[in-house]
C-alpha cells in the first residue's frame, strides 16, 4: 500500500504525462495541497518508488531556463498506476459514511 505522499507524487506525475519531472511535480503538489514540498522528500520518494518499480526515471534534456541543467524525467509504470488505483479505492471505501464526505451514504442533506 502506498503512503500519502507517494500517492500524491504518482498522481501528479501521471497528470503531467510527458512533462513530468522533478520541478513540475513539486509545483503540482504544492499547488494542489497548499503545502511546501521539499526537494529532499521529493527525490528520496521518487527513488523509493523507482526501486519498487512504480516509477521509471531518466535524465532528460537541459533547458536555458534551468541554467543549462538536465531534468530528471518521470513516468508512472503500469504497476504504479495499479498501486495508485488501489490506494484511491481504499481511501474511497474507508471514507464512506465519514462526516466530511459531501454525498456520503445515508446523508439526509
Amino acid at each position: 500500500m502506498l503512503g500519502e505522499f507517494e500517492y500524491l507524487l504518482i498522481t501528479a506525475a501521471a497528470g503531467l504525462g510527458d512533462n513530468a519531472y522533478g520541478a513540475a511535480i513539486r509545483e503540482e503538489i504544492e499547488a494542489t495541497t497548499g503545502r511546501r514540498c521539499s526537494l529532499g522528500a521529493l527525490y528520496t520518494t521518487i527513488d523509493r518508488l523507482e526501486t519498487k518499480g512504480l516509477l521509471k526515471t531518466w535524465m532528460g534534456d537541459a533547458t536555458p531556463q534551468r541554467g543549462g541543467r538536465a531534468k530528471r524525467m518521470v513516468r508512472v509504470t503500469p504497476k504504479g498506476v495499479r498501486a495508485a488505483k488501489d490506494f484511491y479505492d481504499a481511501v474511497t471505501r474507508v471514507s464512506r459514511g465519514a462526516s466530511w464526505v459531501a454525498n456520503r451514504t445515508g446523508s439526509t442533506s
Partner: protein
C-alpha cells in the same frame, strides 16, 4: 548577498552525486527559489541521502568496525615498528643482540598488509560514507599525536600505516573486489606472519595484545571471502 548565497548552495550541492546535483540545481533555477530556500533544500536532500545510507550495515562496519579500532591498533603497531627499527640501528644486531632484522621485516610486511587490507575494506564497503570513515580514523590519530611522549621518536612514527591505508582505500574505491589468488596470498601471508611475530616475543597467541593483532587480520579474510571467483564471473557474463 544572493551571489554569495548561491555559491554556498553550489558548494553544498557537491555532496550530491553528479546527476542529482544537476537535477536539483536545475529545479531550483527553474523555480526561481531564494538562495536560502535552495540551501535548505539541498542540505535536506543531502541529510536524507546520508540517513538512507546509514540504514545499511556497511557504513557502520567501515567506520566503527574497521576505521576507528583499526587506526588505534595500527598506530600502536606503527610505534612498535619504529621502536624495533630504532633498537636495531642502536644495537649491533649482527652480534646477536637486539630483536633481529627478520622480526623488523615481519613487522613491516604486517603493517603494510594490515593497513592496505583495512583501507581496501573501508574503500570498497562504504564508498559513499567514506568521509565518516576518514573522520573515524583522524580523531584517534589526532588524539594520540597530541599525547605522544616518546622523546627519542618523532610523533609521526605513529602514522606509518597511513600511506599503505590510503593506497588500500584508493584501490578499494576503484576495483571493489580483488582476485581470488591475490586474496589467498594476502590472507595466508598476513596470518603466517602474525604467528612468529607474537610467539617471538614470548607471548601466547591468545594473549590480549596478540588477539588485537589477530583482529587486525580479519579484513584480509573478508577480502578473501568476497574475492572475485573466476567461475562465478563467467556464469554472470
Amino acid at each position: 548577498m544572493t551571489e554569495v548565497g548561491w555559491s554556498i548552495v553550489e558548494v553544498a550541492s557537491q555532496l550530491l552525486e553528479r546527476d542529482e546535483r544537476e537535477t536539483v540545481l536545475g529545479d531550483l533555477a527553474e523555480a526561481g527559489e531564494s538562495a536560502w530556500r535552495g540551501l535548505h533544500d539541498v542540505l535536506g536532500l543531502v541529510i536524507r541521502r546520508q540517513a538512507i545510507l546509514w540504514k545499511n550495515w556497511r557504513p557502520w562496519l567501515a567506520a566503527f568496525g574497521v576505521s576507528l579500532p583499526g587506526s588505534f591498533f595500527l598506530m600502536g603497531f606503527s610505534l612498535s615498528v619504529s621502536l624495533t627499527f630504532r633498537q636495531i640501528i642502536t644495537t649491533k644486531i649482527f652480534e646477536g643482540a637486539g630483536p633481529g632484522f627478520l622480526l623488523l621485516i615481519c613487522h613491516a610486511f604486517l603493517l603494510v598488509g594490515w593497513s592496505w587490507s583495512s583501507g581496501f575494506v573501508v574503500g570498497s564497503v562504504a564508498r559513499r560514507t567514506l568521509w565518516v570513515s576518514i573522520a573515524s580514523c583522524c580523531f584517534p590519530c589526532l588524539f594520540c599525536l597530541a599525547r605522544f611522549r616518546v622523546e627519542s621518536l618523532s610523533r609521526f612514527c605513529l602514522l606509518l600505516f597511513v600511506l599503505p591505508a590510503i593506497w588500500g582505500v584508493r584501490q578499494g574505491l576503484r576495483i571493489t573486489r580483488i582476485k581470488l589468488s591475490l586474496a589467498v596470498v594476502l590472507a595466508v601471508a598476513i596470518t603466517v606472519l602474525t604467528i612468529p611475530t607474537w610467539s617471538g616475543r614470548g607471548q601466547p597467541w591468545w594473549s590480549p595484545p596478540a588477539l588485537m593483532n589477530w583482529i587486525l587480520g580479519w579484513p584480509a579474510w573478508y577480502l578473501l571471502a568476497t574475492a572475485r571467483r573466476p567461475g562465478r564471473e563467467t556464469e554472470r557474463s
